[in-house]
């Protein structure tokens, strides 16, 4: 079966000369919650921006649903929902207006949009008549999420979706994502909360300095060897992550504390 997302040798250098992706290759199988993790500047957002069509890779190929995508393509986005690091809403609209706009962009019928909007607004506990600019950070994140799933996408790509939202909403979001994955939607998620990633994701990839370090099933983390000589295994994703991305011997300390 074709992977839903496939990066092959993708290189991206920003205008300021920083190499964000350095031959990144990985693939995302269908119907999993895929955790894409790394330190700040590892290349997560650059990868998502390429998928969203905001920027283009310098070399390498990116395929979605088995087809190579090119900067400027838009048709493939019909079955994708995005929550980017950039807020995706017109802040002068209210939630109802914005979801109506998004529904029209995905070619949903007016009746379908109205019914799904009502359900999403209730589910995410959004203020329907208030302009989005007056929403709290968490509410803004929730409206972005609502807009990303209104068209029942086959793939949803989320950059830090749980950042800034309250505990109840976070639980609701995680449950929704797990439910979507169980029904065949592929969920691609970046997060700095490793505990959440480990619990939520069926598969994880650790990216560092624009390259893939590890890709494995979450279930395999605790059985993978830390030290072959001692037969010691990793106790958590956090331990695996720290082991792979931290610099050995680089102890960091503030002199005044």
């Amino acid at each position: 079966m074709n992977p839903v997302i496939q990066f092959t040798g993708v290189v991206k250098t920003h205008n300021n000369g920083v190499r964000a992706l350095d031959g990144l290759s990985f693939s995302v199988p269908k119907g999993v919650v895929f955790g894409f993790i790394g330190l700040n500047g590892a290349g997560k957002t650059s990868s998502i921006r390429i998928l969203a069509g905001i920027s283009a890779q310098d070399s390498g190929t990116v395929s979605v649903f088995g087809n190579a995508i090119h900067h400027g393509d838009s048709e493939f986005k019909r079955s994708i929902g995005f929550v980017l690091d950039e807020p995706l809403y017109f802040d002068w609209m209210n939630a109802v207006e914005y979801l109506k706009f998004v529904g029209a962009m995905y070619d949903l019928s007016a009746a379908e949009t109205a019914s799904r909007s009502g359900e999403l607004i209730e589910f995410f506990d959004l203020q329907p008549d208030q302009p989005i600019k007056y929403y709290s950070t968490g509410m803004k994140k929730k409206i972005s999420l609502a807009a990303a799933i209104i068209h029942k996408p086959a793939l949803i790509i989320l950059d830090e979706p749980l950042e800034g939202i309250d505990a109840l909403a976070a639980i609701a979001v995680k449950e929704t994502l797990a439910l979507m994955a169980s029904r065949g939607t592929t969920v691609f998620i970046t997060s700095h909360v490793l505990d959440t990633v480990e619990k939520l994701c069926g598969e994880i990839a650790i990216v560092h300095q624009g390259k893939l370090l590890v890709q494995c099933a979450s279930a395999d983390i605790r059985t993978s060897m830390k030290h072959t000589l001692t037969n010691q295994t990793y106790s958590s994703l956090e331990e695996l992550f720290l082991d792979r991305v931290s610099h050995p011997g680089a102890e960091r300390r503030l002199s005044f504390l």
Binding site: N15, I54, G72, F76, K77, L88, F90, A104, M105, Y106
Partner: protein, 217 residues
């Protein structure tokens, strides 16, 4: 079609709801003052056209970033770029026409000229001559020189002056047709030609450039 109509409606709604429309107020007040003065020395239409076009500079010159995140919204949804540019341009034409009609009524009220019939004809003809060249330049400028943040900033003021300069150049054919060869009908012929260029050449060019450029990346 549905996407295009939604985008057009969104543009219209945004204009009337956003405080940005207030850019027109100081320009119209200044124009009202100028109308009185200029009526004694020459035609008044340039004052009205200049006030409106400069006040609506963002509708022409910054079509992708009137909200700071607008470009990202327009990128992640499956929107045909041709429909996007076309809808935004058609909304700019509608908004300009609306503002011209409303402000002409307002400004001619203050004008000492008794019959404004000729002046109104001049406003309409000069609008027809300038609108498509300004859209063409504006589309390319929106892609080459995007402003993610806009409002009452120095850069916006500079861009408004730049728009005034573009308008002055775009008005040259009008001056030639009306004042040099005295054949105003040519304005309509010229506008039809400019409109065809805008639709068949300028929009595809902007779409093509939008596909190649990576704005703010």
């Amino acid at each position: 079609m549905k996407q295009g109509l939604t985008l057009y409606a969104t543009e219209m709604k945004e204009f009337f709801r956003h405080p940005r429309a207030l850019h027109l107020v100081p320009l119209l007040l200044f124009a009202a003052f100028m109308m009185n003065w200029i009526a004694h020395i020459g035609p008044q239409y340039p004052v009205i056209i200049a006030a409106i076009v400069c006040g609506l500079e963002l509708q022409f010159d910054n079509i992708l970033f009137r909200s700071p995140n607008e470009y990202f919204i327009l990128t992640v949804y499956p929107i045909d770029r041709e429909i996007l540019v076309l809808a935004k341009n058609l909304a700019a034409i509608t908004i300009t026409l609306f503002c011209l009609a409303a402000s002409s009524a307002f400004l001619f009220y203050f004008s000492p000229v008794e019959s404004a019939k000729r002046e109104i004809t001049e406003v309409i003809l000069s609008f027809l001559v300038v609108v498509f060249p300004l859209l063409h330049v504006g589309n390319l400028r929106s892609i080459d020189n995007p402003r993610p943040q806009s409002g009452w900033r120095v850069r916006d003021f500079v861009e408004t002056l730049w728009m005034g300069g573009s308008l002055a150049i775009a008005l040259i054919p009008y001056l030639v047709f009306v004042y040099v060869i005295d054949f105003p009908l040519l304005c309509i012929v010229y506008s039809a030609g400019a409109g065809a260029f805008w639709y068949f050449t300028s929009i595809p060019k902007a779409v093509n450039r939008l596909g190649r450029e990576q704005l703010l990346s």
